[in-house]
Symmetry: C2
Subunit: 350 residues, 2 copies
DNA sequence: ACCTAGCACTCCTCGCCTGCGATTGCTAAG
DNA sequence: CTTAGCAATCGCAGGCGAGGAGTGCTAGGT
């Protein structure tokens, strides 16, 4: 092996590996040495290619389903392909515009915008797309309103810069009048204005409540509302495009799909799988066993964070067979996330 | 045929038909005459049963997949079974309690309660469960709050007896102060209190706005908020349990599932299919072609409305193979809907 | 008039085999 | 280091036949 070449592979091996991956992604059939020489003018004979293929298999980049079959990429093969061999794609201006337009037409509601983006990505990628709902942690506090419903019940609404974050009903042990709730709302608003949600301390609340001489139970009411605003529905997912997976030849067998659908419906596992990509700068790929879940050996996931202002608040992902068009899906996911990010920022409540 | 007997079938034919359906539901295998005589002590020989089976086939209740196979029920066979032959089931007290408890633990948020009920029903029924989100039309108005965010932006929140129904952001052409919004909120609340949402007229709003001498654009702002409160997310569905369908032997073939997943994700078709069961008193069943959708020939749906107070506000359904345990699923769906209804009513904002 | 034993007939299913084609690895020569 | 040639391996599709499941019909019994 020539040192200094990508992945410790000499140039020809790298090219052959890349070609095998491209070809397998396109056809879903094991790739034979002859196919390579015929379709790709390698300038060498199939026998030479066979020698190279054998080396690549020894190196762990390829596997053979059975003796008299061609080669298919291993997880390591895909990994090398993604990291070093493939040509990254970027979206055509036209595609970019289509995505942007479609998201613009979506409702103003936060959840629905996220769901639209997920549906869109599912449709464009022809795979299963999913998104985490945003964490509100890094959002800015805009308004807290206590609504009087009856002497002992009310509702607290927290508005953040992204729109309504949470409503929570409360019950009081002692009667309170509408005026008290209004006064308390006002006091809190002037005290908390423009803080980030995560920076609001219990002492801020306590000060406001005590200053007005109100019952201590209000502190709990407000903390509860803020807490639920902060956590949002963070661990729930939006998903779309499961039926696309049924089109893939490798999932004609229903058993493989069962586990996936299960995982998608459970949401928890899926959330954990992508959670660590929240801090990524751009699209990240996890391939087969890298996902660390037995039932997902045959799948890969592309994940890209979306932002509100500066901070990443959630992830947009595509789940498909390992044999997925990585460059294209990374471009699509990135493009969609980018549009989503700017769509969210446009809707910011200043 | 003896007149006066169920479905125009004499007693023995009815019993044999019922037995074929039971057996086929249990085994997913065509039912043979000998199986019937061996398992069910009919008191006659298999030859006699064969004659009866031939009659039932002539009558359209059964079909034969091929000459040397047993019989399986036709849509008409299932229909007769459901309407006249099967023993209706009711839930054990223990099951009933489990459902109630599980729903009680669910969050207070309306959407999440519905989703919990759907997940629960999916799990218990071992099929695909789905629910329509409630229509707010028949809910009672409790509170409208206009929140001041900046001189020209604000948010309108409408609270109904079921909890928050809608929030909507608005922009004004002319500056307004927090006081105006508060005064308008108060005026509207005293005027609209305890009306049903659908009974609120534009003139009520206009009167309040004009009385306070406020800009006409407030009328639109408020009407928009009320409209969005009324419509809710009515046509979106919650669904759970798709992977259960993959366990059914008849759907090992991925093609049949594709159409179903598609339909479930589309939601629209599914919503239309069950919409007319909203006025039903109890569980309704649609079998195979009765659904009127080609791709759903192999499926049946059990639908039961759930209520808030007196009025039906949504539907809870189970979708599965035609070969589903109708009595059990009807009992499960009814029980879950009942618990859901009372759970919702308990959470009413009085 | 109804029931039933017996039997021929039909049709599906499964395992077995075979031949074909695809593809490889190896060898030996350039 | 490359390549042509070739034997060897393996999967797969198709054909064939045995086995079995189940029916419909017939004829005789109650």
């Amino acid at each position: 092996m020539n040192p200094g070449s990508p992945g410790g592979l000499d140039k020809r091996k790298a090219y052959i590996l890349a070609t095998v991956v491209y070809e397998y992604i396109a056809t879903a059939e094991p790739v034979a040495s002859q196919t390579l020489t015929q379709k790709y003018r390698l300038g060498v004979s199939s026998a030479t290619v066979r020698n190279e293929l054998a080396d690549l298999e020894a190196g762990g980049y390829l596997v053979q389903p059975h003796t008299s079959a061609g080669r298919i990429p291993s997880d390591a093969g895909y990994r090398t392909f993604v990291d070093q061999l493939m040509h990254p794609e970027t979206l055509q201006a036209a595609d970019r515009r289509r995505i942007r337009d479609e998201l613009r037409d979506a409702s103003r509601e936060l959840d629905e915008v996220i769901e639209s983006a997920t549906r869109l990505l599912g449709r464009l990628s022809k795979n299963l797309a999913f998104a985490t709902k945003p964490s509100n942690d890094a959002q800015t506090f805009r308004h807290l309103q206590l609504i009087w419903l009856s002497a002992r019940t009310g509702m607290a609404i927290v508005v953040t810069s992204m729109g309504v974050a949470a409503q929570s009903l409360f019950e009081l042990a002692a009667d309170a009048g509408p005026d008290e709730l209004t006064r308390l709302s006002n006091a809190l608003n002037s005290r908390l204005g423009n803080k980030m949600l995560r920076d609001i301390r219990e002492s801020d609340i306590a000060a406001a409540v005590d200053q007005l001489g109100l019952a201590g139970e209000f502190k709990n009411v407000i903390m509860t509302a803020l807490r639920s605003a902060r956590s949002g529905e963070q661990s729930t997912l939006a998903a779309s495009g499961a039926q696309n997976l049924l089109d893939q030849p490798e999932f004609q067998d229903a058993r493989k799909l069962r586990s996936i659908l299960n995982i998608v419906e459970e949401q928890k596992t899926l959330y954990d799988l992508v959670a660590d990509s929240m801090t990524a700068e751009s699209a990240e790929v996890k391939i087969g066993h890298e996902l660390g879940v037995d039932e997902m050996q045959d799948f890969s996931i592309v994940t890209v964070p979306y932002r509100f202002g500066e901070s990443a608040i959630g992830m947009l992902s595509v789940l498909g067979p390992r044999r997925m068009p990585y460059a294209r899906l990374m471009a699509l996911a990135s493009g969609t996330a980018e549009s989503l990010s700017s769509r969210l920022s446009d809707a910011e409540i200043k």
